[in-house]
Amino acid sequence: MLYKVQLFCLLIITGAACTNEQETETKNGSSSLPATTIGLDNLNAFQVVQATNWQIAGDVYANRHEDQNLQPTEGAGVLVNLPAKNAGENANLLTKLEHGDMDLELDFLMAKGSNSGIYLQGRYEVQLLDSWLKKELNYQDCGAVYQGIDTRNRFAGHAPLLNAAKAPGLWQHLKIRFKAPQFDESGKKISNARFEEVYLNGELVQQQVEVSSPTVSALANDEKPLGPLMLQGDHGPVAFKDIRYKAYDHEQLALKEMEFEVYEGMYEASIDTLTMLKPDQSGKTDTLSQLLGNEHSQLSVRGTMEVPREGDYLFEVKAGGPAWLFIDDKMVVYNGGTHNFGQGFYGKQYLKAGNYDFQIVYANYSRSLALSYEGPGIPWTTLTTTASARKQWQPDSMVDLVNEKPKTQRGFMMHEGEKDEYAIAVGIPGGINYAYDLKNYNLLSAWHGQFLDVSEMWVERGEPQLEKPLGAIVEFSGKPAAALLKGNNANWPDSVNADEGILKNRGYRMRKNGLPVFFYTREGVQVEDYIYPAENQSGLTREITFKAGTPVSDLYILVDSGKAIEKLPDGSYGVNNKMYYIENLKGFQGEPEIRQRDGSAELLLKANASASNKISYSIIW
C-alpha cells in the first residue's frame, strides 16, 4: 500500500484552529476522512487558565539524563507544560471543545521522571509517564487507564498490555478510540465510558476497557454526555503536538425504501447490460445483504439514502466480485472487479442533508459484500448486515520468545509500509531486538520488549509470511550504511534492493555470544557490521569495521536519514524529529555532518583515511 500524507492549514471560525488534512491514501483511494487539528499557534483552543504553567513553543528539548528537565524554544506549534514547584500554582488545560465519542491522536514528549495524562471528557484518564524500560507495569504506567474514583465499585485501573514507552525527550505517538458513557432520557447512565483501543507508539496497549467512574483527580466526579478534553498540568513537564481528533455524535445515515432485483448470470463487464434484462427475482427489503441474491448472479438494490447532515461522506466497498455504488446516478465507488473480499475501495462524496437515490450492484462471485461509510461526526459504520460479508481468517498468535541466548529469525517484515523479503530479526536476552535487511545490509527497525509473533509464518500455510515485532518499533531509513563518496556533496547511493552482485562475499558470522556480525564487500572495501545492546539495554550500539587493501580516503557512513536531524545540547543527535537518539559517536574524521538531500536530513561520518578502521555509535530510543 501507498501512504501519502498531506498537510495544509486553513482558517476556521475561531481564527486560530488549523485543519490538518492527514488522509491515509491507499491505491484504492483515501481510506479516511481528515481529522480536525487543535491549533497550537496560541492557546485559543483552550479555556483560559490563570496559572502560567502552559505555553506555546516552537520545539522542546528534554535532557534525558536530568529529572524533570524540559526546555522550550521560541515559536509555535508545540504545547508545553512547565509546572511550577508549588503544585498549587499549576492548572490542567481544558479544551473549549466538548466531546462525547472521540478518536484522538497526538504526539507527546516526556521529561525524565515526568507524569501527565489525557482525560477524555475531562474525566477518564490515559496515563502518561516516563515508563522507559520498565519491566513490570501497573495502572500508573504510560498507556495505562488510570484508577477510578468510585470507591464502592472501584475501577482498579488497567495496566498497558506492554511497555511501548520511549526514552524521555523523544516524541511519542498516542491514538485513542473512546466511547462516552450513555444516558437514558431521564439522565440515568445506561452504559459506561469505554476505551475501545489505545495505541502507544503503534502498539495496542488497551483494548475494550470499560471505566465505571471518572478517574481520580478528574475535572468532576459526575458523568455527562459531553465534556472537554483535559491535559494534566500539575504533575510534571510534558509537551504535545499534532493533536487531532474526530468527534462523533449519534446521527446516522439511513437506507430506506429498498427494492432488490436479482439477475441470473454474470455481466460484470458492463452493468449497462442489466438495464436490458428482466430480473429473475425482485422484491422489497429493509436490510442490505448479498444474501438477497445468489452466487453467479447479479444483485441490484435501489433505495433512498437519508443523509442526516451536510458534509463529506467516505464510502468503502469490500466485495468478492465486481461491485458498484451509485448515489443519484453518480458512480461513487467501483472495486475494479476484484474477487478479493478483504480489499477496501473508497469513494468520497459531498452530500447535503436530505434524501438521495442510491443503487448498489454486485456481481456475486464469492458471496461477500460489505458497504461502510464515514461521515461528518459519524464514525465508520457498516450498512450491510453482518452475514453479508465473509470474515478473513486470522491465526492465533504464536509467540517466539528469547530465553538465555540470542535468537535470529529470517522472514518477511514490514518496513515503512512495505514488505521486506530479506529481513532477519535478532532478539537479544534482556528485551532488546532489531531487524536487519540482508540484501542491502542495513538496519530496518528496533524495539524493546519481546521478540516476535510468528503466527503469520508458521500457522497453516502462513500466507502473509510476516514476522511481527512484539514491541513498539523505531524504524530506520533502510539506506545502505557505507559508501565511497566523491566528496561530501555527492549524493548518497540509492541502492534499495541492490542488484545481485554489487555486494560480494556476504552473509553473517555468529559470535560466541550468539550475536551475528554481518559482512559484505562493496567496491573492494570489506565491511563488518556488528550490533549489540547499549549500556543498560537503553538501545543498540553499532560497530562498523572497514578493511581495504590500500587506504581509502573517501569512505563515508550514513548514520541515518530522516525528516530532521538536530544536534542536541548534551552532544547527542535527535533523528527524524526526535524519534530516537544517536550518541557516543566514535572513530571518524572531523565532525559529524548533517546535510539536506531531497527533503531529508542525513547524518554523515567520514572514515579515517586508512586501510582499516572502525566507526561506532549508539542508537537510543
Binding site: 444474501l291 445468489n294 452466487e295 453467479h296 468478492g320 474477487h339 462471485y365 464469492s366 458471496r367 465473509r390 481468517w393 492465533d396 498468535s397 504464536m398 509467540v399 517466539d400 520468545l401 530465553n403 535468537k407 535470529t408 529469525q409 529470517r410 522472514g411 518477511f412 514488505k419 523479503e421 530479506y422 532477519i424 540482508l438 540484501k439 510468528v454 503466527s455 509464518m457 508458521w458 500457522v459 497453516e460 500455510r461 502462513g462 500466507e463 502473509p464 509470511q465 534492493n497 545481485e500 552482485g501 560480494k504 562475499n505 556476504r506 552473509g507 553473517y508 558470522r509 555468529m510 551475528p516
Partner: protein, 665 residues
C-alpha cells in the same frame, strides 16, 4: 512429557485427535507392502518440531534435517532407537531442501541460496553465507527449492510461482530452474515450472523435475529438463526476453486452451512434454522428491527412480527407457502408509530410505503434522512388474519373479486403456480421450521373466494404463501392485499394427471425460431452486474454505425437513467439493472416492453410494456452487471433501435437529 516449546501447541494437540483416524485408514495395501518393505519411525524428541524441508547426510553419517521453522538439526545415529539431536543452525526462512558438500550445508531460503559452515567445529553453524539471492513479491506461494549439486559442483534451484487466484510469475525467475555456481554466477536454465518442489538426477545424471496438478498442469508428472526447455506453465515465459534467457518463446504463443500438449509440442520445439505422467489421485496428488535407486541392497529396482507424494503420503516407482532418443517410461505404486506428507527422501549408508515429511498447510493422508521415517527392504522379493518397455506394437513387461506361464500368457489377464489430459489454463484436467486397447496376444519369454504384450490401439502422446490382475507368479502369488501407467511419447520403430481398426470399441465407449460432471446421480446435485419452493429456502448456509484444507464452518445446524440452500465457496487454491453423507459414513465415502481410479475425475470424485446424500460439483479455485435439498431426519451427518486425500481433514458435521413443533405442512 517434556514440553518447552515456547509457542502455541495447537498443532500437536490436533495430531493426537487424528491418531485414531490414522489407525483405521492404514490400508490393506500398506499391510501387504509391509511384508517386503518395512516403515520404521526415526524417533523425534517432543520439543523438536521436525517439519522436514530437507534431508542430507554428512560425511560422518549424521543426518542433517532442515525444517520449515528454519532450523537445521543434526541427527547422530539416525539408524538407532535413540538418535541424538543437535541443533546445528536456526533462524532460516523456510528452508525446503538440504545438501551437504565439502563440509558445508547448502539450502534455499525463500529469498536466497545459502551456505552454512561450522568453522570452529563446535557442532553448530557460525558462518551463514549468501551465495545468490533473487527478487520476491512477498507472496506466500513463492517457495524456493534446492540446491541439487551437479557433479561439477554447480547447483540447481527451482522457484515456485506465486498464487494470486492463479499461478503467476510476479518477479524475475519465478517459474524457473536456475543454475548457480559456488561463486554466485547464475544462469537461467529452464522454465514452464509451476510448483517444482522435487527434482533429481537419474543414474545417467540427467535432470528430472516433479510437477503437481494445477493451472496448465492436468496431472502430476515428471519431466526431463534440459537447458532451454519450457515445461508447460507459461507464466515463467514473462522473463524469456531477458538477455540471459536460454529460450525466447513468448507467453502469447500459448493460447489459453491448447488441446493436447503432445500435439502442440510439435509446433513449439522448446515445449518439453512430460516424461512420465502420474495420473491424478491414482498415482498421488502432489509428486515431491525424486531419488534414483543407486544400489541393489534396497531390492530389485536399481537404476529406477523413486518419487514421493506429499498429499498421499506414499512413494512411487518409475522405470525409464529412451525411445527415439527421448526418455519415457512407466510409474508404479510402490509403498504407501507413511505418517505425514512426504517432501524429501535420502539414502542412508545402510541403503535404507529416509523419508522426511510435513503436512502443515497442505494436508496429507498420513495424519501426523510432520515425521521422519525409514523404509527398509526385508530381503523378500515382491512379485512386481519390474519394468515395462514399449515395443512397436505393444509392451514388454519384465517381472521380478518368474511368472506362471499359463496365467501370464492369457491375453485376458491384462487390460490396457489409453487416456490423456487437456493442456489449458484452468486448474487440473479431467481425463480425456479415454479408450480401451485390445490385447491381441501375450507371449511369455526369457525363462518366464518377461511377457510380450501385443496391443492394438496404442496412441503416441497418451498415457496407457496397464493392468495385470490375472497374472500369477510361478509360486502362485498375485502381483503386489497390479497396475502401472506408461507414458507413450514415442512408439519404437518396427512392426506395427493397424491400430485404428483394432481399437476395442466395446471398451469404455463414450467415456470421454466431462469437466462439468457432478457425481453419478444428478438428484443429489440440485443446483437450481426447486420450482415448488415458492417462498425460497428456509435456511441459507455458506461454507467456504480456510487454509490447511479445511471448511471454514465445521458444524452447521438445520431443522429436519427444512429447505436448505447450501453454498460451497471454494476460495482455496486447489480443487474441492462438498459431499453430505449419512451419519458416520464420511470416512467410508472418502475412502471409496480414493478408489475410483480413472473414473474419479469424471464423477467429481463422488462415489456411487447410498451413503452420499447430496453433493456439489468439484469446484475450481475461486468458484462456488449452491445446492438445494430438504434436510433429512434428525441426526449428525458428516460432510467431507471427497477429492482424494482431503476427507481426513476437510470435513464437518451437519446437525439435523428434530422439528421444533408440528407445523401444518
Amino acid at each position: 512429557m517434556k514440553m518447552n516449546v515456547p509457542y502455541s501447541l495447537n498443532i500437536l494437540l490436533l495430531l493426537c485427535l487424528t491418531c485414531s483416524v490414522f489407525a483405521q485408514q492404514s490400508s490393506d495395501q500398506a499391510a501387504k507392502e509391509s511384508a517386503f518393505y518395512a516403515i520404521k519411525d526415526v524417533p523425534i524428541p517432543d520439543d523438536v518440531i521436525l517439519e522436514v524441508g530437507g534431508l542430507a547426510f554428512t560425511d560422518d553419517d549424521q543426518l542433517g534435517v532442515a525444517t520449515r521453522h528454519g532450523e537445521i538439526w543434526m541427527i547422530d545415529r539416525p539408524y538407532s532407537a535413540q538418535p541424538k539431536y543437535n541443533l546445528f543452525a536456526s533462524g532460516l526462512h523456510e528452508p525446503l531442501w538440504l545438501s551437504y558438500r565439502n563440509g558445508a550445508f547448502y539450502t534455499t531460503q525463500r529469498s536466497e541460496l545459502t551456505k552454512l559452515t561450522d568453522t570452529d567445529h563446535d557442532g553448530s553453524a557460525d558462518l551463514y553465507q549468501t551465495i545468490y539471492s533473487w527478487p520476491l513479491s512477498g507472496n506466500y506461494h513463492e517457495y524456493s527449492y534446492g540446491p541439487l549439486f551437479l557433479p561439477n559442483g554447480d547447483m540447481l534451484v527451482t522457484l515456485n510461482l506465486s498464487w494470486i487466484g492463479h499461478g503467476a510469475s510476479l518477479r524475475k525467475w519465478r517459474g524457473w530452474m536456475l543454475k548457480i555456481t559456488e561463486d554466485g554466477k547464475m544462469e537461467p536454465f529452464a522454465t514452464g515450472l509451476r510448483s517444482p518442489a522435487g527434482f533429481g538426477v537419474n543414474a545417467e545424471g540427467d535432470i528430472f523435475y516433479a510437477e503437481n496438478q494445477g493451472d496448465w498442469i492436468g496431472s502430476g508428472r515428471i519431466t526431463h529438463l534440459e537447458k532451454g526447455d519450457f515445461a508447460g506453465n507459461p507464466e515463467g515465459l514473462r522473463w524469456s526476453g531477458e538477455p540471459n534467457s536460454p529460450l525466447n518463446l513468448k507467453m502469447d504463443m500459448i493460447p489459453d486452451s491448447v488441446g493436447l500438449m503432445y500435439d502442440f509440442a510439435k509446433e513449439i520445439p522448446s515445449l518439453k512434454i512430460p516424461t512420465v505422467w502420474f495420473p491424478h489421485t491414482i498415482m498421488g496428488i502432489s509428486t515431491s522428491a525424486i531419488l534414483s535407486i543407486d544400489n541393489d541392497v534396497f531390492g530389485p529396482f536399481k537404476g529406477q527412480l523413486l518419487v514421493g507424494d506429499q498429499g498421499h503420503s506414499k512413494v512411487m516407482r518409475v522405470f525409464l527407457e529412451k525411445v527415439n532418443g527421448e526418455y519415457q517410461g512407466a510409474c508404479f505404486p510402490f509403498r504407501e502408509g507413511f505418517s505425514s506428507g512426504i517432501l524429501r527422501m535420502a539414502w542412508g549408508s545402510d541403503h535404507s530410505l529416509f523419508v522426511g515429511m510435513t503436512s502443515r498447510g497442505w494436508a496429507s493422508t498420513g495424519p501426523e503434522d510432520y515425521g521422519l521415517q525409514r523404509l527398509m527392504y526385508n530381503n523378500k522379493m515382491p512379485f512386481e512388474m519390474k519394468a515395462i518397455r514399449a515395443t512397436s506394437n505393444g509392451f514388454e513387461i519384465e517381472y521380478t519373479q518368474p511368472v506362471d506361464p499359463k496365467t501370464a500368457s492369457n491375453a485376458s489377464a491384462y487390460q490396457v486403456t489409453g487416456f490423456t489430459y487437456s493442456y489449458h489454463s484452468s486448474y487440473g484436467s479431467p481425463i480425456i480421450n479415454q479408450e480401451g486397447c485390445a490385447i491381441v496376444k501375450a507371449e511369455v519369454m526369457d525363462g518366464n521373466r518377461k511377457v510380450r504384450l501385443y496391443v492394438s490401439g496404442l496412441r503416441e502422446g497418451y498415457i496407457h494404463e496397464l493392468k495385470a490382475p490375472g497374472v500369477k507368479s510361478l509360486q502362485g502369488n498375485a502381483l503386489l501392485h497390479k497396475v502401472a501407467y506408461y507414458t507413450l511419447n514415442n512408439l519404437p520403430e518396427g512392426e506395427g499394427m493397424d491400430h485404428d481398426m483394432m481399437v476395442a470399441q466395446e471398451q469404455n465407449q463414450g467415456n470421454t471425460g466431462n469437466a462439468t460432471a457432478c457425481g453419478a446421480d444428478p438428484a443429489k446435485n440440485v443446483t437450481t431452486q426447486p420450482a415448488d419452493w415458492a417462498n425460497g429456502p428456509d435456511i441459507t448456509i455458506t461454507i467456504g474454505t480456510k487454509p490447511g484444507l479445511k471448511y471454514d464452518l465445521e458444524q452447521i445446524e438445520v431443522p429436519e425437513g427444512s429447505k436448505v440452500k447450501l453454498t460451497f465457496n471454494n476460495n482455496d487454491d486447489m480443487l474441492h467439493n462438498l459431499v453430505i453423507t449419512n451419519p458416520g459414513k464420511g470416512d467410508e465415502v472418502g475412502k471409496k472416492a480414493m478408489e475410483m481410479g480413472l473414473d474419479g475425475a469424471q464423477l467429481a470424485y463422488v462415489p456411487q453410494s447410498e451413503d452420499v446424500l447430496f453433493n456439489t460439483c468439484l469446484l475450481q479455485p475461486e468458484t462456488s456452487e449452491s445446492i438445494y435439498f430438504v434436510a433429512p431426519k434428525a441426526g449428525d451427518y458428516t460432510y467431507v471433501c471427497t477429492f482424494p486425500g482431503h476427507y481426513l481433514n476437510m470435513r464437518g458435521m451437519m446437525k439435523v435437529t428434530g422439528r421444533a413443533s408440528a407445523s401444518g405442512d
